[in-house]
Amino acid sequence: MTLRKILTTSAAAGLMAVAGFAGSAFADIKVGFIGSLSSDTGLSTLRGAEMAIEELNAAGGMNGEKIVLVTADTQEDVTEGVKAYEYLAETEKADFIISGSIDDVSLGWMPRMQEYQIPTLDTWTSSISIIDMVVKDPELMAPYFMNIASDEALATLYINFGADVLKKKMGWDSVVILAEDTAFGQAITGLVTEAISPVAGIEVKDTIVYDVGTVDFAPIFSKAQATGADFIYQVSSVNSQVISSQYVKLQVPMPMTGVNVSALGMEYWEDTGGAGGGISTLSPVPSVGFKLDPVSADFVKRYQAKYTSRPKMPHFNGFNAYYGLKQAMAAAAEVGGFKDAKKWSKAMEKQDLVLKLDGKMSLRYGFWGKDEVEPVTKRTYPHNARFDLTAPYDDAQPSMVVVQWKEDGSVGVVYPFEFATTEFTVPSWIKK
């Protein structure tokens, strides 16, 4: 019977798998990747790490030890994320874990990180609540680092965009917030609502929360228009191409800007079939349309030579993974490996990489000190990526930039002005 054959084959496959694990246990330094293996953002982190490892091994590895990469898929699911972390920690015995997880997934496996105390670097989560954990319990969270600016910094700089561009240049006085019903949506909406009126002088007329499974946004856009606000502020991370492509397809006669995670990748134009013109979003740096320093440009060039499938350009977290992994290995080389997580943590805190473009600071990969208070938000960000919230951005890069897709399919940075490559405009169907 074929069935029995299937059962024996799968049993054999199981045995082979056991043998496979045992075989790979002899590898020297093991880096575990945790994240979605099928999303563009997850792949960015993975490939950034792959390229860094390749380079490090070509240069002799970490203190002469070869570095190998193992992966565990989270499928962007919290439970799968916990399983994946356990797999990396216990079956693969990873020395270091690099993560391309979304907020909820990172929050899910965080108790496991605390238990195993494996040095871990997050490149995609920006959840401020995780940074708060580091503030609250620096001992327990010592092995954890996040090299993307956290939500609070993203939102703060966004408010400046509101003041400098939306209010001053466009002359808009009121906004209606259109936010998805997720953790990310709640966090960003809260931060923006609190500050946009006192700092930027833009009145919040209404906040409309929508379900991420929404099929038809027409009534929601109608509701937004009925508030009489000057523009829509969208907060969308899950299925965000649906709301933005319907905005374009319906030609909603009201400007819209905000956060649209799907517009962060080079594939956005292709994915929306061109229904993406006029969409703008805040993006951590380096974003699409961002002028790159020579080192990063070279990274992108080699990336494109190596990978032919999407994403054709790494997202910001691909850069974070590439530089972050090298920093993690440098820190490990200093203290003799990853075994002593506390020692490694101390060395990692001191990592600092400055990349220059035309003699000026372009990107800086470093971390905030434990007691360093960021002057604008007046709080500490231990183990969080270093960022700068005030022009001329000479301490580090801004926490984010605003990028806009034009109706001809091009994309550029519109804010901060120091980094702008194009100007913020409204879609052609909106009559001024």
Binding site: F21, D73, V78, V82, K83, E86, E90, D104, P111, A183
Partner: protein
């Protein structure tokens, strides 16, 4: 009661074997087995209601979710100790489940399945909008108190719970009650014709199922340390539970356990080759083949095989 000494000997052997396991396998395997244990508990719970009586529940995460959310909210928001919150969660699951699904137990077949499916979807949507200050909304809650630390401890906890539930269900199913429940699955009219109250029997099966689901859900969440609606009230979760019970063998005690272990390990061992969600292709393809070939599951396949080899010298 149809009990034989060799049944108990087999159980003893099984229990001893399961408890000795941490001496022989790696921690990574133990972690996988923990998830298999929890899946086995959920599959037993599903089987108690659906496998035996034939009332197919497509919304079992609804019950698991009541237990999980009750204890999560009590411990996280009101600082209840786990020893108190878990029993409350179990009672809440039984009472809550009964209030909501009691009216549904009078409808049959596909309609019952659909009500449970709709129920799960409804709770999924409500839990995100009603009192998100308590439920944590879409994000759920993390940093819940965990019962154990380390792979071996987690394994002992989950395997004890699973074995205790399995053994009790096996004993209960050996009584007249168990026979009557299986009879409902075969022919409900005949059972009511023989003077038994079908409603009472269905309610008993439902309460037992809810008890196990609530207990399993509550302990599971204190093992994971976090709870998220998207991972819980998910049709893929329903799918995993049902497939585990059916592939192993519905209507038996060992079946759901065997199914849960087989499928959890299958998924885990496919990881090196198919790291992503494509693993479910093999998983579901295999499940479909087994189910189409023998709807009674692997248990039936194996007993058939041994039976055949016995009569053929």
């Amino acid at each position: 009661m149809n009990l034989r000494w060799h049944h108990f000997a087999l159980w003893a052997l099984f229990i001893v074997g399961m408890f000795a396991l941490p001496q022989f396998v790696s921690n990574g395997t133990l972690r996988t087995m923990i998830f298999a244990n929890f899946l086995a508990i959920f599959a037993i719970s599903w089987d108690t209601l659906s496998g035996r009586t034939g009332y197919i529940s497509f919304g079992h995460p609804f019950l698991i979710g009541i237990g999980a959310y009750t204890t999560a909210i009590l411990t996280h928001r009101f600082d209840f100790p786990v020893e108190i919150s878990i029993p409350i969660a179990v009672i809440a699951t039984m009472v809550g489940g009964l209030i909501v699904l009691l009216p549904a137990l009078r409808i049959k077949g596909s309609y019952f399945a659909l009500v449970t499916l709709a129920m799960m979807e409804l709770v999924y949507q409500l839990v995100q909008v009603v009192r998100p200050d308590l439920t944590g909304g879409t994000r759920g809650m993390s940093g819940l108190p965990t019962l154990t630390r380390g792979a071996a401890n987690g394994y002992y906890m989950s395997v004890s719970l699973m074995l205790a539930i399995a053994l009790s269900m096996w004993l209960i199913m050996k009584t007249r009650l168990g026979t009557a429940l299986s009879a409902i699955g075969m022919n409900e009219e005949a059972v009511s014709g023989s003077g038994l109250s079908v409603t009472k029997l269905k309610m008993t099966a439902f309460l037992m199922s809810a008890f196990i689901a609530g207990l399993g859900g509550a302990v599971y969440i204190h093992y994971l340390g976090s709870i998220a609606p998207r991972a819980l009230f998910d049709i893929n979760f329903v799918f995993t539970i049902i497939v585990a019970a059916l592939i192993g063998g519905a209507g038996t005690t060992i079946g759901p356990i065997a199914g849960a272990f087989f499928l959890t390990f299958l998924l885990e061992y496919l990881r090196p080759w198919l790291p992503g969600a494509e693993r479910y292709m093999v998983y579901s393809g295999l499940a479909l083949l087994i189910y189409m070939y023998q709807p009674k599951g692997m248990w039936a396949l194996m007993t058939q095989a041994t039976f055949k080899s016995k009569i053929r010298p």
